[in-house]
Amino acid sequence: MKHFRFRIAECGFAAMAALVFIFTLAFAGTASAMLTARANHDHITIDFFYHGSSVSVRGMSDPNVDLVIKMTSPEGHQALKQKGKVGGLLWMNVGQLKFERTPNFYAVYSTKKLDEMLNKEEQEKYVIGYPALGKHVEVTPVANEEEKAKWFDEFVKYKEESRVYASSFGKIETKVNEQGHQEYYILTDWPYQAAPGDYLVTVYAVKNGKVVEQAESKVNVEQIGVVKTLATMAKNSAAFYGLLSVGIALGAGFGVGLVFRKGGGSH
């Protein structure tokens, strides 16, 4: 009984703390203005006929601010093969580079060129733009900062080629409404190369070179139906999946052989 009372008291304390936290957040929000963000297509489903989608983000902000919209997947580590010249003549894989603290997906859109609206320190603090991301990630093994910068540029090229990294300005539409608020809107292509998972959309309001406010929204990408069943089976029932793959291939090969025999009839 004593233990039970203690648990109630513990829960009560947690609830109080949560209320205070929510109240603080709400108060902070109203105090610093009115930035909002909403992704229209926040649950993207991958079925058999999925070939990418589109995501729009809209919201309101103070009228006199610039905006940055950043979409990212959670950070992780990635290992990539590194090509180099052997004997000054032949290009081949010479090793592996590890990129730590990098998102698999990274897209940044802004109302103006980043350097014209946001100072370097703020770009680095909020990891906005490729140069800031380049400082944020860890690349191993590299000899010095120069080499790190070179291989990070190559990493961005590789990711842009796979359509999972993007950076551009001027695509965000803005207008000031009758109430004097700035409404913004952007429609972006969501590439089919973006893997299933949770993505964070962060909108930053920028004034005098600094971030003055930020708002968040989420996009969830999920496999469904047969696609999900097959992907799960490949991971969780690998032996059965392997036998099934071999069985279907054998069946198809024999099946076509039989069809051709009936069709041909000469042998």
């Binding site: 991958i46 079925d47 058999f48 006929f49 999925y50 070939h51 990418g52 290992a79 990539l80 093969k81 590194q82 090509k83 180099g84 052997v86 003549l89 032949l90 290009w91 081949m92 894989n93 010479v94 090793g95 592996q96 580079l97 291989w151 190559e154 990493f155 090229k157 590789y158 080629e161 089919y192 190369q193 893997a195 299933p196 496999q223 047969v226 696609v227 097959l230 992907a231 490949a234 991971k235 690998a238 032996a239 999946y241 392997g242 036998l243 099934l244 793959s245 071999v246 279907i248 291939a249 054998l250 198809a252 090969g253 099946g255 076509v256 052989g257 051709f260 025999r261 041909g264 042998h267």
Partner: protein, 308 residues
Amino acid sequence: MYLYLPVALTSINILIPVGLGLAVGLLSGLFGVGGGFLMTPLLIMFGIPSTVAAATDSNQIVAASTSGTYAHWKVGNVDFKMGLYLLAGGFIGGIVGVQAIKVLQALGNADFVIKMTYVFMLGIVGVYMFIESLQSMRKKKTAAIEEAKEEKESAVGRFLKSLPLQTRFEKSGITHSVLVPIVLGGFVGVLAAIMGVGGGFLMVPIMVYILRMPMHVVVGTSLFQILFTCIEVTFLQAYTNHSVDFVLAVLLLLGSTIGAQAGAVMGRKLKAEQLKILLAGIVLVVTVKIIFELTLSPALLLSQAGGH
């Protein structure tokens, strides 16, 4: 129409894998090669991750080689006895090759050895087959060349005849020691494991030039042997690496099983020399492509890890 591939995690126009399957299946039925050395790079070019491309291709080859073996078996062009000995050798060679790769990786120069082995083997096989079949097509062999060749053949022949455990391979109409196909199968197995390919393009010339099997039996027997190798590879890739994309494999095999049948039919209408010179031409084109890849500056200096 586009389909999403659940393991490759990408979307592809279905005409691409079906078309590729048809083309590579045709080569498979014609020449008795799996076509992995063509299909895997093409799939990577169309955005399939390299590990998934290699594993799924071996799944597709199971279907194409079943279809091809069946077509060749119907007309009596599969030497099962020879195929089983070659398989036994290939199995042992594969184990040795995998260990060799581990040693090379530990030494840090695996990629260099793999690429160089690839270029030299393809180059030598392609050039030799091309020249040999061109000569026999033109029938312009000078007496001197013929004499030299005969001398060389008889030396190799004498050595092969001197080996113990001689046995008759009825279907091919030849007699060899059982050690010969086992050792040669083992040699191809080692190289195939090092290069990460099935080895059909090496096995076919070995059967033609060293084992002296008739070209049409070579094609059927090679497909029979490839079938078993690829069943093993597909299962292991699915089980250990989870890298077989079932949907992509089905799209590929839709084309390749039909292509293999068409190839077998076409092959019966072509002469052995014509078949050999066509295969030599393809092998040489692939060699030149690899040499270009090695010498021209690549657009991207980073690529996905895993696979060769």
